[in-house]
């Protein structure tokens, strides 16, 4: 599961209404994700919506994704619409992480990445191998991969497909399984990130 794209470096406390300002709530209520996408980061990073490309990643500081769950659906679906590669942050609100993961938007807590990228850098993250590479600055780092259960949900592009596989209702498709062995019986998995990541 390798993600390749440009980084958009954001600061601390980027909440749901920083990702899409609350004044566009009605568009979200209408589930018009394409229009929501046109307002992504409109106040915090005005260049984003017009120049984001598939695979691009948000790299944020602390407390990403705070705010009311009411706004999460619009934000996450807008990110999926522009084919955002992933969101990495020093810390991610637990409810936002759940909703993003359920809907198939990859997000993970990698505290050290914020210091290793600037907006516009070309970066590559291999989640399964835990490899980070900044192709612009030639910096490389080894990261702790997310737990297999989470990687399984990422690979399935969300918890609905993941659940279909767990319940043995659907076999992994070649494109989304990406060569992974699916762990159907896993129920508990210890996760100890490296000290840098915490």
């Amino acid at each position: 599961m390798k993600i390749h794209g440009r980084a958009w470096r954001l600061g601390d406390d980027i909440g749901a209404t920083d990702l899409i300002p609350a004044r566009y709530d009605k568009i979200g209520m209408k589930r018009d994700w394409a229009e929501c996408a046109r307002h992504l980061l409109e106040d915090a990073e005005p260049r984003f919506a017009s120049s984001v490309r598939p695979g691009d990643m948000l790299v944020a500081g602390d407390n990403f994704g705070s705010g009311h769950a009411h706004y999460f659906g619009a934000v996450i679906n807008a990110c999926l619409t522009v084919e955002l590669g992933a969101v990495f942050a020093s810390s991610i609100n637990g409810m936002f992480f759940r909703a993003a993961t359920d809907l198939g938007l990859i997000s993970w807590t990698y505290g050290e990445l914020a210091d290793l990228v600037a907006t516009g850098d070309e970066i590559e993250v291999d989640l399964e191998r835990g490899e980070f590479r900044n192709l612009t600055t030639s910096i490389e780092r080894q990261l702790t991969p997310p737990p297999c259960l989470i990687l399984d949900i990422f690979a399935a592009r969300g918890s609905t497909n993941w659940a279909l596989r767990r319940a043995q209702l659907l076999e992994p498709t070649a494109s989304s399984a990406a060569g992974r062995e699916f762990r159907r019986d896993l129920t508990v998995e210890r996760y100890i990130p490296s000290v840098d990541q915490q």
């Binding site: 009311h68 009411h70 810390s91 637990g94 992480f97 359920d102 969300g158 993941w162 129920t187 508990v188």
Partner: protein, 425 residues
């Protein structure tokens, strides 16, 4: 030597059939019961793909959002669809809380004994944490995560960090769960980062179950994933006539590890007001007293319980609503409605000029009760959940949130008013 365990880690370990779990572990937790409102979309997905629910006996539907006024077309579409789905799936009719048995999807399952201590019992609705008052792990799966639970009966979960909320003393007269919620949003709003709040301390014993549920109801607004109350005699007494199965409550170890501990004396709480437009814009009622209002509302999952209705009725007894104000009350469930009828509470409301509606989410859900729906430029005092612009009607209306007694006192005066003066006499 392992560190002391929280209620959260004990419940999650049990549900994952593990001896123990640590913060940061990823687990799949067996779900005891999933509660679902009438707004969910997973039914279409299940029908389209001819999929089966994991266990038809463990899903509870509550018809709550779609009753009133401009939503009947949605209700006409959705309610029969839910009943057809239940029939096809073998979900017992008993599990479908429709008109006459109904109410909110995190209230009725508690009243009806589905929600048991020590279990993982999520709900599809954002305010599902309300059920954490039952000493269970109750998080909202939202529409994004409900389907996977329906298919597998498992909840994927990163074992969260917990904070301790230690309560002492007792709430002064006229102070309700909403005042606790707003104080916690004000103090802890930026600090919780999706952690779980575990309540403890001698102050818990004096809190009625209704007030505990109103406090747990605010978890998401505080920035927590959920809130868990400890088991005590009052909870066990509440559950005794209701519980549908045996259960095993959890208490934290005395040396349980918390990321932070917050201590409060409930005796120091006061009436707080949230809004307009932003939930974390919180001020003491004393600063806002005198602000004119034209609409007043008690209802939704954050009020509308018997404790709220009884206190509001004390304020309104032998008094009249101000002629410039319309006041509407929506009991949270059919059971609460019947209790309030039997206690004379609804009669007191009607005598004061209050309109009482059938149970449900009422005016909180996009102003769907016609007598209350806000017009342009109106100002409303309400004990409901949200104050986003446009939530209860016109986007140019102002929604101020406060407790049920504040709503009643303000409806009498036509302006924001301290309820204490009416509770004394």
């Amino acid at each position: 030597m392992s560190a002391g365990r929280t209620m959260t880690s004990k419940i999650l370990a049990r549900a994952a059939s593990a001896a123990s779990v640590e913060t940061g572990d990823v687990i799949t937790a067996r779900v005891q019961v999933l509660t679902v409102a009438d707004t969910e979309r997973f039914i279409d997905f299940m029908n389209t793909h001819s999929l089966r629910v994991w266990d038809p006996n463990r899903i509870v539907f509550c018809f709550d959002h779609m009753f009133e006024d401009w939503l009947p077309s949605a209700a006409i579409r959705n309610h029969p669809k839910i009943r057809r789905f239940a029939e096809v799936q073998g979900i017992p009719e008993e599990n479908i809380y429709g008109v006459g048995r109904g109410g909110l999807s995190h209230q009725v399952p508690v009243e009806e004994g589905w929600i048991l201590p020590g279990t993982v019992s999520p709900g599809a609705d954002t305010q599902a944490a309300t059920m954490g008052a039952m000493n269970c792990f109750a998080i909202p799966t939202l529409s994004s995560g409900t389907t996977s639970v329906v298919l597998t009966g498992e909840l994927w979960q990163v074992v969260p960090e917990c904070v301790s909320l230690r309560l002492e003393g007792s709430l002064p007269k006229g102070i309700l769960g909403k005042d606790v919620v707003y104080r916690l949003i004000k103090d802890l709003g930026g600090l919780l980062h999706g952690r779980v709040i575990e309540v403890s301390g001698p102050g818990v014993a004096a809190l009625p179950i209704d007030v505990r549920m109103a406090i747990a109801n605010g978890a998401i607004q505080m920035g927590a994933q959920t809130i868990i109350f400890p088991p005590d005699q009052r909870l066990l007494d509440y559950l005794k006539p209701r519980a549908r199965a045996s259960f095993d409550p959890v208490s934290p170890d005395s040396d349980a590890q918390y990321a932070a501990t917050y201590e409060y004396d409930l005796g120091g709480f006061e009436c707080l007001i949230s809004g307009p437009h932003e939930i974390d814009r919180i001020r003491p009622l004393s600063e806002l007293a005198g602000l004119p209002v034209t609409a007043a509302y008690i209802g939704s999952c954050s009020s509308g319980r018997l404790e709220d209705l009884a206190l509001a009725a004390q304020v309104l007894r032998n008094r009249k609503i101000h002629p410039s104000v319309r006041m509407v009350v929506t009991p949270i469930s059919a059971t609460v409605e019947r209790q309030a009828e039997a206690n004379g509470i609804l009669q007191t409301f009607r005598a004061a000029g209050v309109v009482v509606t059938s149970p449900g989410c009422g005016a909180c859900y996009h102003g769907n009760t016609s007598p209350l729906k806000l017009g342009d430029g109106e100002r409303c005092i309400t004990a409901s959940v949200e104050n986003l612009a446009g939530r209860m009607g016109s986007a140019s209306a102002e929604i101020y949130l406060g407790n049920a007694a504040v709503v009643a006192a303000s409806a009498i005066d036509g302006q924001l008013t301290q309820p204490a003066v009416y509770l004394k006499r």
